[in-house]
Symmetry: C2
Subunit: 387 residues, 2 copies
């Protein structure tokens, strides 16, 4: 009884790490995969052709943002998000849950949904599980997400237990409300903070609706908790998720965290971090982060990353890109974004190849050994952030 | 004795209008031509490949800006402006004269040159004819310009006469200072405001150095004078310029003015206007200007210009581009810039074809008839502006 529109084929294992392919109505996604974020129907600074050229199989859109502007009804009139933004490949839309809690001025969390004020114009708004799914049905992404309650990082057990139970009730309502189950795969989101037993509770409750879910996300991580806690929970819960469905860790985009997540069996990740730090002039290199505005790069004829073969690294020097940033030229932000997205996608492709060849741990250790050499490098605390 | 590095072949005439080809060390330029402006070693918002793709044969760089940032010595260390910015086609650099007068806080205009303060950091700077040529030799453009004194628009005869004479003396110093006459073509700049006899005076003085000049620019127009005056002077002076050298009208980028200039025998034009208005959300269409932020476009499924076959018009709707502008997404500015540059280059290609077919006046009249229909359209007073 495989009539879900989004499916996962697990092709290789190396320890807990997995390589596979997700099939969707708009094409296949090789996993493990990094998904660039296109919050407002555009991956900031980039043409969609460039996003494809740098290797993206799938991008994200955001329900909260697109609901507020231009409105999901507007997007629907243009034939859905794919057509609206000129991206014919897979799209995943977040449910808006995270943004309602992180961006909206919250009025009330009630059983029926969340009342909040728009961060754009202060207008009163309401998103319920039904509304989130309705918006996502209008947007028409290949993968849509449950509307969950997103508890603050490091919430107590006392806070989390009723929150998990509400998220489960909301999940049922989302399943019922979903009007396009034949062409939009619905993903569940497992919550439970940093408590193993609460992760089990959330997962087990959601698993009762397993036949309705095309995949499982791990929410409530990278929300400010210590890195050890994030890794401990990943290690605990990821392998328990259904083997033949994709596993999506939300909001993680720091290279070393991504490799750790892959090692634990995560298949999908997204984060605005690579594009955001790029727009502020920080770029990834094999040997760690590079802050391009530093004066020492003004005459540097090397590419951003000497080990990189992307469009940016083939055509532009550090000196030129530094100039663009100093002169406030948009092209600088674009080139840094392009390179950073390419870097993570290439890293994930490398991880995939390593899993297939059963040498993932060696790949990871070599990557980390190089990456942590860089003088500019800092290993940032994982933190799910807004674009 | 044709050893100039930049040459012009006049191939067709239609009245005073001319079609031809300019040859340069980095390739040929079909004329009449519109030249996109890349002030700070980038055409704002655009990848260089896109600038080429939309049809640009040549772009501008700016001596004043690049002298201040990153420094022409820096550009020289990267092998010159072509390599620095990843543009292998022809480049023209303005001499900095116009910017010294319009942007720098002027300290003193002296016979030796101009003392001013940088608009970036207030530092004291000096540009002389020799310094301007030295900077331009470092930048390495195919076409370099004389360092001229740029009098304010509508200057009196009394102001202009000594100014013209100084510009002639500076021209001699530029010719003498030019260290790369074999691979950089030097253009003279005819001044004289809105007075026919002063235009003659300036031209005649410069013509004494004709063997050193690869072309002639018309300066001191589009600086705030009434349109009638600009057209009267264009009509008067353009046909008097040497027939077998290109004629460049500086700072004009309004479509109707451009066609008027072509009619009078101008071969080259530049202006930041198409990219600047694009970044602010105004785009050209066959039927005049379109202000994309207007609410009426929010559900408009048409391209910016229904008559256009550019990348932007083939792939994006007015509704989407409006959304990008409302959401402050850079892609909106880029798409509008791309389309506007394409529009002017396509218009100039159309003018060229019409000249070759001896139907330029009909082409111009049809263009104007359409262009002035638009409800959003305004015919802006020509004004040379900064990027």
């Amino acid at each position: 009884m495989n009539k879900l529109p989004v499916n996962y084929e697990l092709s290789h294992r190396d320890g807990k790490a997995r390589a596979g392919v997700i099939t969707t109505p708009h094409g296949d996604i090789k996993t493990p995969v990094f998904m660039p974020v296109g919050t407002q129907a555009t991956v900031k600074t980039m043409n969609p052709e460039e996003v494809r050229e740098l290797g993206a199989d799938i991008i994200l859109g955001n329900t909260y943002h697109l609901f507020l502007r231009p409105g999901d009804d507007v997007v629907a009139k243009f034939g859905g998000l794919h057509k609206f933004m000129n991206w014919s490949h897979p799209i995943l839309t977040d449910s808006g849950g995270f943004q309602v809690f992180s961006l909206g001025a919250i009025r009330k969390i009630k059983e029926e949904g969340v009342y909040f004020r728009s961060h754009i114009d202060g207008s009163k708004r309401f998103i319920s599980p039904e509304k989130s799914i309705d918006i996502q049905n209008n947007l028409g992404a290949d993968i849509v997400m449950l509307f969950d309650e997103c508890p603050p990082g490091q919430s107590s057990r006392e806070y989390l237990i009723p929150s998990i139970e509400r998220t489960t009730r909301w999940a049922k309502r989302c399943v019922t409300a979903h009007k396009r189950p034949d062409d939009q795969g619905l993903f569940a989101i497992v919550q439970g903070g940093i408590y193993e037993d609460l992760r089990d509770k959330s997962m087990n409750e959601l698993m009762e609706m397993d036949e309705s879910f095309s995949g499982y996300a791990i929410g409530g991580l990278a929300v400010g908790e210590p890195r050890e806690d994030m890794y401990r929970i990943l290690d605990y819960i990821t392998p328990k998720l259904p083997e033949h469905k994709p596993r999506y860790l939300m909001g993680v985009g720091e290279p070393l965290d991504m490799l750790e997540a892959v090692e634990h069996g995560v298949d999908m990740m997204d984060c605005v971090q690579p594009s955001r730090i790029g727009r502020h002039g920080t770029t990834f290199t094999k040997y760690g982060r590079l802050v391009i505005k530093n004066a020492k790069y003004s005459l540097d004829p090397r590419p951003l990353d000497e080990d990189c073969d992307c469009y940016v690294c083939k055509n532009y020097t550090r000196g030129y890109i530094r100039h663009l940033f100093k002169a406030n030229e948009m092209l600088g932000q674009k080139l840094a974004t392009y390179h950073n997205l390419y870097f993570l996608i290439k890293m994930m492709n490398g991880a995939r190849d390593a899993i297939i060849d059963k040498r993932f741990i060696a790949f990871k250790e070599e990557f980390i050994g190089n990456y942590t050499q860089g003088k500019d490098s800092e290993w940032i605390i994982p933190q799910r952030i807004e674009d």
